[in-house]
């Protein structure tokens, strides 16, 4: 039976798992494997595991609980070892490295921030600030056949949008970074031009949240900042 791995912790982590269950249907029973220095929370891996909602929730719930009670290295969803012995062997083999990382993230949580901006709001801003965009906008509104101008307008807008998004994203990251211990910027998506995770000491969580709040205030209309956390430090392991 292969073994699904949720997290690695120090051996002295409370590893309280009551009330939680593992991935799979029926839900797998959680177990703890221990070496001299490390613990791993595992369950039997279901045969046909896919990233179903309940499984993602199970994974995340186990990690949230562990995070509340001590240092936890969160595994990526869906990680399966051949059996318990091989999991223990892997812990033993890299115990120095895991131990080091556990020390680094002890007392820390991840906050994930997504930022989007209403497109019309941004386009209005660009129109109001660029004579050339205004000119091309008028031409293309009046003359649907002005294909060349339309492309030129689109190119200009596209460039401006990207430029503004990047400037704002860089500014936000630069201003928030000092409150955290580290950050990791993810790929922008069509819905959020900034996706960034911060590693924050629990003790600093409130001031970090305040900084995000101030940032939202500063960015003003049209922007949406959404903050998620505290999360296991997925992005910092």
């Amino acid at each position: 039976m292969s073994t699904y791995v949720y997290a690695i912790t120090p051996v002295d982590h409370p590893l309280r798992l009551d009330g939680l269950h593992g991935v799979g249907e029926p839900a797998g029973e959680l177990r703890v494997l221990k070496t001299r220095e490390l613990g791993a929370v595992v369950s039997d891996a279901p045969e046909d595991l896919r990233a179903k909602r309940r499984d993602l929730i199970a994974h995340q719930s186990v990690l949230s609980r562990l995070l509340d009670e001590g240092a936890t290295l969160p595994m990526r969803f869906g990680l399966v070892g051949p059996d318990d012995d091989r999991v223990l062997a892997a812990l033993e083999e890299r115990r120095a490295e895991y131990g080091e990382r556990l020390k680094e993230i002890a007392g820390c949580v991840e906050y994930h921030l997504k930022v989007s901006r209403d497109e019309s709001d941004m386009l209005r801003e660009i129109v109001s600030e660029s004579d050339e965009v205004r000119r091309l906008n008028e031409i293309t509104r009046e003359r649907p056949d002005a294909q060349e101008e339309r492309l030129r307008l689109g190119e200009l807008l596209s460039h401006e949008v990207r430029q503004r998004q990047d400037d704002v994203a860089n500014g936000i990251v630069a201003r928030l970074a000092p409150t955290g211990l580290g950050h990791r910027v993810g790929a922008a998506t069509s819905s959020h031009f900034l996706n960034v995770s911060f590693l924050v000491k629990r003790a600093d969580a409130t001031s970090f949240a305040q900084a995000v709040d101030e940032e939202a205030e500063q960015q003003g209309p049209g922007y949406v900042l959404s903050l998620h956390g505290p999360l296991p430090p997925y992005s910092f392991v």
């Binding site: 690695i8 595991l49 990526r76 990680l79 399966v80 460039h159 069509s190 296991p232 997925y234």
Partner: protein
């Protein structure tokens, strides 16, 4: 205070999951530690994440889309016009969502365990969102778009 991180989430209910699962999906699926030589389950059905990558900006399609969006803009309304009042979509009873005024504009401040959009991702969405495990706050300084992430 808008964002209310809780140092202690021990109250997380059993199987508590998260109302914001979708928002952190990429972290759960694409980050986190892996052990060399161990396998990862096939994530069939997860391609949806890849759909949402930033559109290629330098493409004719993108140019045309932007140009058309710009043509359609109602410039008369002005970008600073507070055309809509804030629409607080959070459940006020939950997490003490609050509205907050910001100058001429209205700001919605919410602490929401925003429910996932059911059906969004096929079978990874087969169960209703359970609220609770994370403290999430959405902050928007102008109007809310309730369907922003749908």
């Amino acid at each position: 205070m808008t964002v209310v991180p809780q140092a202690n989430t021990a109250a997380t209910s059993q199987g508590g999951g998260s109302g914001t699962l979708y928002d952190v999906l990429e972290l759960i699926l694409d980050r986190g530690l892996v052990i060399d030589a161990f396998v990862r389950v096939s994530l069939v059905g997860i391609e949806i994440l890849k759909v949402d990558v930033r559109v290629v900006v330098a493409s004719v399609d993108t140019y045309l889309r932007f140009a058309e969006a710009c043509n359609r803009l109602d410039l008369e309304s002005g970008r600073k016009a507070p055309t809509q009042l804030t629409d607080i979509v959070g459940e006020a009873t939950e997490s003490g969502a609050k509205g907050k005024s910001k100058g001429a504009l209205t700001g919605a401040v919410e602490a929401v365990g925003e429910s996932l959009t059911r059906g969004r991702k096929g079978d990874s969405q087969e169960e209703p969102a359970e609220r609770g495990s994370e403290r999430t706050s959405k902050r928007t300084s102008s109007r809310r778009t309730t369907s922003r992430e749908e």
